[in-house]
């Protein structure tokens, strides 16, 4: 009888609450499609790493600072001509 009772008690026991009980425990990503989508759309560390560089946004100001600090400038520009913005 004991071998039958233990599984039955386990079935009847309430499911354990995760964390503080205020937020449901995050489920496996396979059954939590919202979490899976968020994982896909969030910017990753690798994608965001270029933001760790302290970029200035004025070449004129950067050259002034470069001369003052004795450091060369690295300039990175993307897309758009000065006249009309075309590539």
């Amino acid at each position: 009888m004991l071998t039958t009772l233990i599984p039955l008690v386990a079935l009847l026991a309430p499911a354990p609450q995760g964390g503080s009980g205020m937020v449901p425990k995050t489920q496996d990503k396979q059954v939590d499609p919202i979490a899976a989508t968020l994982d896909r759309v969030r910017a990753t560390k690798a994608e965001s790493r270029w933001r760790l560089v302290p970029w200035m946004h004025s070449l004129s100001k950067a050259l002034t600072r470069a001369k003052k600090e004795g450091k060369p400038v690295f300039y990175f520009g993307y897309d758009g001509t000065l006249d009309d913005g075309n590539s």
């Binding site: 499609p33 979490a35 968020l38 200035m56 004025s58 400038v73 690295f74 758009g80 000065l82």
Partner: protein, 330 residues
């Protein structure tokens, strides 16, 4: 290496004369572009248009363009193309780490021309074995913390092709406690349904337009269409859980809405279904979870003649902020 040894400048796609942040840069960039165009063909390049990276000495002397949409190549021709990397031999281009190798080569050349001693740790930085490299690899981009807003959401937007992180779409959405509370029913009982009001809907989704060249725009209210509904699914004392369902269609009608840069405004319409969930603490009067994501999202755009469609995805989630520190009483 960049943080330690160089002053770094980033010029975005908003680089036309009417949008450029510092107007003095127009004459400067034109001067450098003229210099580059006068070089021998195998070193000729342009600093105007397309992705370009260049090193400049502290005295303002151009060293070398590493990458340019318009540049010459060792074969002696001018070629165009987004995959074009100037001044690489064909054999070099076949190497997977070619761009990084070239980057370090020209960076070193720049330091030498600037009469700056090559740092002792240069080889380690280049090899990736320097302890700083590992630290940077693990470093997280600082998350802006705003203490003046009760609720802060982070919006992420993806189009199918990922360009640069800033072009993907990453915006913060600050909300007052009362505004966020309007998302769910006043009477929080199981089954309670609430339709999100227009103002809140526009606030949530106005930043979910896929970013692209020159797209830093404010959509007009009637360009933001759709609806979002919440439903309470469970109440456990002060803890309320629920789900969110809806649709979204972003369809800017004017040039101004599509892009600040008139010459490039490809995105036309983005639409998706919305799904999400929430947890609300009635006692603390705050959300402990709020997530909204897209489902079956599609963006249509026109770059060139024929319109195309791409997958489109968005996600909104609460920003986790560090707990407030309690001040010790002295």
């Amino acid at each position: 290496m960049l943080r330690k040894h160089f002053v770094c400048v980033e010029m975005t796609e908003l680089v036309t004369k009417d949008l450029i942040e510092d107007p003095r840069d127009v004459a400067l960039l034109e001067k450098y572009d003229r210099q580059l165009r006068q070089l021998p063909l195998h070193r000729r390049a342009s600093l105007d248009g397309g992705e370009r990276e260049v090193f400049i000495t502290p005295d303002g002397e151009l060293v070398r363009v590493i990458l340019s949409l318009h540049c010459g190549n060792p074969e002696g021709t001018m070629r165009l193309g987004y995959k074009m990397v100037g001044q690489f031999s064909c054999a070099d281009r076949a190497k997977p780490d070619m761009a990084v190798e070239r980057f370090f080569d020209v960076a070193r050349e720049t330091l030498e021309k600037s009469r700056i001693d090559i740092p002792r740790d240069w080889a380690a930085l280049r090899a990736g074995t320097h302890p700083m490299v590992a630290r940077v690899r693990d470093e997280a981009v600082p998350q802006p913390v705003r203490r003046d807003q009760d609720v802060l959401l982070q919006a992420w937007v993806r189009a199918d092709v990922i360009y640069y992180e800033s072009l993907v779409g990453r915006s913060l959405i600050p909300l007052s406690r009362d505004a966020a509370r309007d998302l769910i029913a006043q009477d929080l009982v199981k089954g309670a349904i609430q339709t999100c009001n227009r103002r809140l809907f526009e606030t949530l989704f106005s930043s979910c337009y896929p970013k692209g060249a020159g797209v830093l725009v404010d959509l007009e209210p009637d360009s933001i269409q759709g609806a979002l509904q919440s439903e309470v699914t469970r109440v456990d004392g002060n803890h309320v859980q629920g789900r969110l369902r809806g649709t979204l269609r972003l369809a800017p009608k004017t040039q101004r809405e599509r892009s600040r840069r008139k010459s490039y405004s490809p995105w036309r319409e983005s639409r998706c279904e919305l799904v999400g969930d929430f947890c609300y603490d009635r006692k603390a009067r705050q959300f402990t979870r709020l997530r909204i994501v897209s489902k079956r999202g599609v963006s249509s755009f026109a770059h060139g003649r024929s319109p195309k469609t791409q997958a489109y995805a968005l996600g909104l989630e609460l920003v986790k902020r560090p707990p407030k520190r309690r001040r010790r009483k002295l």
